[in-house]
Symmetry: C2
């Protein structure tokens, strides 16, 4: 029906691999999970994080999330109150995305590289993806803006010498987000297949150009 659902993810991007929609068929007989509120709640949270990161807020229904876990959708409302509150909780785990900013300036490039090209499926990375995919929501935009403002514009920029430190900090954030977007959402060929080693030289040079202002 909906002409926009993800039916053919066969465009060869290594970043998209998990089965998109079939909602966990639970073969080998579901062992009828024990009743455990805390476990169910965190399972819902994990499923939601994945869905939101993969399909975005709008393309993820509460029924989808509940089906992934194998419970009734009403539980989402029991445990989180609303779809929106659930998303908030997912997004709240995006803290620490820019943890590499706390490294010494000359180590930032290296740490950033590792963040981008190595451990892609960390929960905070998924949270960021979820927010990027859901940026048509005003709340999400606000949250993203605050995240960048705090970590980059307000904090990191103070460590930069030279003119326009805030702008340069945000330009770094832009690069970071652009890379994540192209790698994990759009699935651009070179960025998808690149290794940390291949990108190393380039990333170092660009970050140096941004962080240091020597002529």
């Amino acid at each position: 029906m909906n002409p926009l659902d993800r039916s053919k993810p066969t465009t060869g991007c290594p970043a998209h691999d998990a089965a998109p929609t079939p909602a966990e068929p639970a073969v080998t007989s579901a062992p009828r999970r024990k009743r455990d509120a805390a476990a169910t709640r965190s399972a819902l949270l994990a499923a939601a994080t994945l869905r939101f990161a993969q399909d975005g807020y709008d393309h993820t229904s509460v029924r989808d999330i509940a089906a992934d876990v194998g419970v009734n959708q009403a539980l989402v409302y029991r445990y989180f109150g609303s779809k929106d509150a659930l998303f908030e909780e997912v997004a709240a785990h995006s803290a620490g995305i820019a943890s590499f900013l706390s490294a010494p300036l000359d180590a930032v490039a290296d740490r950033m590289l590792r963040h981008l090209f190595q451990n892609e499926r960390r929960p905070d990375g998924s949270a960021l993806l979820a927010m990027l995919q859901s940026a048509s929501h005003d709340e999400t935009r606000q949250r993203l803006r605050e995240l960048i403002r705090q970590d980059f514009t307000d904090t990191f920029a103070t460590r930069l010498a030279g003119p326009e430190p805030e702008l340069r900090a945000e330009l770094l954030a832009a690069w970071l987000i652009g890379i994540g977007f192209l790698r994990s959402v759009v699935g651009t060929p070179a960025l998808c297949s690149a290794t940390a080693e291949q990108a190393d030289r380039c990333v170092r040079r660009v970050t140096a150009a941004l962080l240091y202002d020597h002529d």
Copy 2:
């Protein structure tokens, strides 16, 4: 009802200014537009471009678009066939986004700067925004991927000397998209208020680091 509609855009980003939802109240009495299929069609296309760029595909209803123009929603289907086809036509105007790539290498930074910081409200710019905001649709992702692959990975990269030209070309694309995203969608403070002059030095240095490989 919907907790996600744009109700408080008062977060001070100069890029968001047009009234978001009230759908053109048409004060001073609508002068009952003359019947003109071509004019109505292009008015619908223009309204759709704006809406899609501002709110994304999912948050834009066909009724919204028609209301902006002041006609009945059924006309969208008469002139475009479906909401999806309308979006395709909007997205098709995104060609030429990376037109600055055809400039001589040492002029690329300058042209790019002008594209980013000067004429923001061009139709192709809006088309790109519309696609960024609608990236949770697989078709849109495919289109974005093709756009970047053709203009950056396949064409522009051939003009780059040094190792990993495709990767470097896509890293430039990532930066571009990240900047556009932060400036026009997220509304990050420094990027929003920056002028082309302030960014000039920085953009030149970074593009130089990406495009030339001299040690």
